[in-house]
Amino acid sequence: MAEPMKIRATLQGDVADVKVLMSHPMETGQRKDANGNLVPVHFIQQVTATLNGRTVLDAQWSQAVSRNPFLGFRVRGAKAGDKITVAWLDNKGEKSSIDATVTPAS
């Protein structure tokens, strides 16, 4: 993976608005490399997000989600200081995760 994930969780009232930018090639398996060989399919299949350890999002993706995926989601009942963790698992079993603290909108 090129760069680590980036995440921001901002509180709007009692809803945490979370934006995540992941680093992943999300290969469809249809692209050819410089030598004309098909680059094998390689994509994030599962993304989970938790708020203070409780699962709030469980997403399944296909290879049609864009490269270096962006994900935006919202969580009700969040408070400033709450911990959000976003983790992904790809079709090769590789994983990554990142934490963020919910901060009030400035």
Binding site: V15, E27, T28, G29, Q30, R31, K32, Q45, Q46, T48, L51, R54, T55, V56, L57, D58, A59, Q60, W61, S62, Q63, A64, V65, S66, R67, P69, F70, L71, G72, F73, R74, V75, R76, G77, A78, A87, L89, K95
Partner: protein, 153 residues
């Protein structure tokens, strides 16, 4: 002798349990990746695989996506559901080689909202399917024109 055998059997069965995947870390509680749905090549099959064949159109489901996507490899799609008890949002691109693009399931507190960027192979209807707690599906669709296809090749 019996004690040794019992201890051995106990650790062996624990090992088997782990190996069998009964004890799994992290993604153990995540929903299984719906292979049948994600590998469906026709919209109808993909919808059937997620149980959305009888989806009703709803004005409370809104899709924000460009009318024309210059780059089919990165098409922003933002879905907001105003329907109570939204449990999941699925994004389907009718003309993609594999129409089901993503499925977002919400746990307690998860709001009916999802935003991401997807690849579109060609001009296509993009559908947002919203599933409510009682298993019903509602949808909205928007046509996105694509000038340069984004699936590869």
């Amino acid at each position: 002798m019996n004690r040794i055998r019992r201890t051995l059997l106990r650790s062996a069965s624990a090992l088997v349990a782990v190996a069998a995947g009964i004890i799994r870390p992290a993604f153990a509680l995540a929903a299984e990746w719906n292979k049948a749905a994600f590998e469906s090549k026709a919209v109808g099959d993909a919808l059937r695989a997620i149980g959305a064949t009888d989806a009703q159109p709803s004005k409370d489901v809104s899709i924000k996506a460009p009318d024309i996507a210059e780059n089919g490899a990165v098409v922003p799609v933002e879905v907001t559901s105003g329907i109570a008890n939204t449990q999941a949002i699925a994004i389907v691109a009718d003309k993609n080689p594999f129409p089901l693009v993503a499925n977002f399931e919400f746990g307690a507190g998860g709001d009916g909202y999802a935003s991401t960027r997807i690849k579109l192979g060609q001009t296509s209807n993009v559908r947002a399917l919203v599933k409510t707690a009682d298993g019903k599906y509602f949808y909205a669709a928007k046509e996105v024109k694509v000038t340069i296809g984004g699936c590869g090749g």
